[in-house]
Subunit: 384 residues, 2 copies
């Protein structure tokens, strides 16, 4: 799939890897590279991505302490595990990257502890789902330490590293910092490219920044959220792909807009699918909606089938308009597919009355005749 | 879930099982029961369902020849298999019931042959998918005989039954007739309740027939198809459930409409998920649309994941409006979930340009960053 720099060059595209832009000179329309040379541009596309947030504590630069944002970091973690024969790891933070990492580390047989300053992981999701994720981690040998502040990382004695926390010290061969990311806007800011309220680069529907000839795409810029109807920073790979294509089309002379996002997202943690789309009660209330929500449990497949699996669905709707505002799902199966259907409903602005009667491809191996989506939407409708 | 007649009686509802209505007397607003007694009604709901079509050939009433429409027939087949120690079965027909039955019979260790007068099974789906279903049957020990007319069923010699076909004779312990269903409209017709063009009972959005006080729901009546914008006969259990509730609400004094269907349907055959929604090229052309279609293969999960599974997506769109008209999918995983998302897109009337940029809950265990839905929609858009 990925083309090498050589392949690009054959098509007349000059791709320079291992090259950093140190400055954008807007007036002269040139960029200065790290080797001191300059390149002129008619069009400039910012795709600077995000930076992993490093907590402001001592010791985050010690060997064996990693963030996981770039491919190089993943490779470095792998190499470190092999080289140092790591037996135990601590992950600081409990977002979806932390969840994916604890599964990956357990698959390598590494004892894993997740240290989180909050009570439950992945706070985008309802506490009822968060508790089940904690249980799933426990079943798979991951220790979850809630309400613990990490204060420092030190060189340990017998072990290689020591995490100093509000709950005591933890020894570890490996520490992964997974406390979030922020848009990498240093170049944009220095060049005077305006940022949005989220702190990411502000763009329009054609991915143009406010500065003539300069576009921005992907994790460094904002996206229009079709549910909150506001510009937000949601750094996810599928969005970045789409924005890149929209910018490219416009630069190439083809009119195209990025139609926005509905905040659809998922991750897998051991045997659980966890997914969400739209906005939660807090964001909804902040936007001036009147959120009402419901969380129900249903069967991911027909109860008459062997091994029927449970799936939980949470829906949030606006009491004033009856429109769906958000959806969350968790289950051993059938959570992501259902959220994708609901993402489409959010995209189209459907109301919960219609969602309660959507026509799905029912068959007993895949759903009950009344899908949990229908049950959730009808339950919610009665609460509006 | 299901309530017994006693439970209903406790709620003041008189439920009579093993009781047949032989006639509806509209003028006197009474029904005559099979025991000769009569019941007066203010409101009558027809829920007479469908009848399995029996092919017009000799021998369909022989012992060991079954249709599969009612629970009683399923129980009779099970009992017959156990009692007669059935070793081999022939299924006449190759619709989705035939597909589900061949899997069920193989699970019992019964040699199974599917005899079909057409070239490929489940003709709702593209021939490319049909061929893969034939291969899947073959892999699982089912013999598929294409382009074969069944002419008679006879009592066999060593075996219990003999199927006489255009392709020679077939011996079988058990014959399942799965050549389709038709709405059971005998009572409605006799009472003068108008049928629609599909042959099923005509209803409005409140499930009322054209005859005052008489409603119809489920497999015996028509449904409004939101894509073809016509009244069709789609006898499926989830639709029947919804229509029953809509009729009940209206009868009980609560205004409610059945918002229609998009023809979403799925079945499982061995390791394959097979699903569809909307309409195909032929129905689209018949409705005056200008169908253009595409069929692509993609990964059901990210190609970087172990055991990436293929999923095929076919989309049909209208060249004039750019709207999606239909979708089909087949794969070891991820087919039904994707069709449910597309069913929602069909419901909302989205165009393929938007579908190419829908925001789904991307994560590598569940999809590539560009979902096969995106790829199919973008490919189709270029063909419009």
């Amino acid at each position: 799939m990925a083309r090498t720099p050589e392949k690009f060059r054959e098509s007349g595209v000059d791709v320079r890897i291992r090259t950093r832009v140190d400055e954008i000179d807007v007036k002269s329309a040139r960029v200065r590279l790290n080797d001191g040379s300059e390149l002129a541009f008619d069009i400039l596309v910012l795709g600077t991505g995000t930076l992993a947030i490093r907590p402001e504590i001592p010791g985050t630069d010690l060997p064996g302490v990693f963030a996981l944002k770039k491919l190089e970091e993943a490779l470095a973690i792998k190499a470190y595990i092999a080289e140092k024969d790591c037996r135990n790891a601590v992950i600081v933070g409990a977002g979806f990257i932390a969840m994916e990492m604890c599964e990956a580390l357990r698959a390598r047989g590494i004892e894993t502890t997740v240290v989180h300053r909050g009570a439950l992981p992945v706070n985008r999701w309802d506490p009822e789902f968060g508790k089940l994720i904690v249980a799933e981690m426990g079943k798979n040998g991951v220790t979850f330490l809630a309400n613990v502040e990490t204060r420092a990382i030190e060189e340990g004695a017998g072990q290689r590293l020591r995490l100093v926390t509000s709950g005591g010290d933890l020894d570890a061969d490996l520490v992964i910092l997974a406390v979030g990311v922020r848009p990498d806007t240093a170049l944009a800011k220095a060049a005077g490219v305006p940022l949005g309220r989220s702190g990411a680069v502000a763009v329009d529907f054609s991915q143009r920044t406010a500065m003539e000839g300069i576009y921005a795409v992907g994790d460094c810029c904002e996206s229009y959220h079709r549910v909150s109807r506001s510009w937000v920073h949601v750094p996810l790979g599928d969005i970045a792909n789409k924005q890149g294509r929209v910018a490219g089309a416009n630069i190439g002379g083809k009119a195209m807009i990025f139609p926005g996002i509905v905040g659809a997202q998922s991750f897998k943690v051991f045997g659980l699918e966890v997914a969400a789309a739209g906005i939660g009660e807090r964001e909804a209330a902040a936007a001036g909606y009147h959120p009402v929500s419901v969380l129900i449990w249903g069967n991911a497949i027909a109860p008459s089938m062997p091994a029927a699996k449970k799936v939980g669905i949470k829906l949030v709707a606006d009491r004033a308009s009856g429109k769906l505002l958000g959806a969350q799902a968790l289950g051993e199966a059938g959570a992501v597919g259902r959220i994708n259907a609901l993402a489409c409903a959010l995209w189209a602005g459907l109301g919960v009355d219609e969602i309660g009667y959507l026509d799905f491809a029912y068959a007993p191996p895949f759903s009950p005749a009344w899908d949990p989506i229908h049950v959730a939407a009808q339950t919610l409708r009665r609460k509006l």
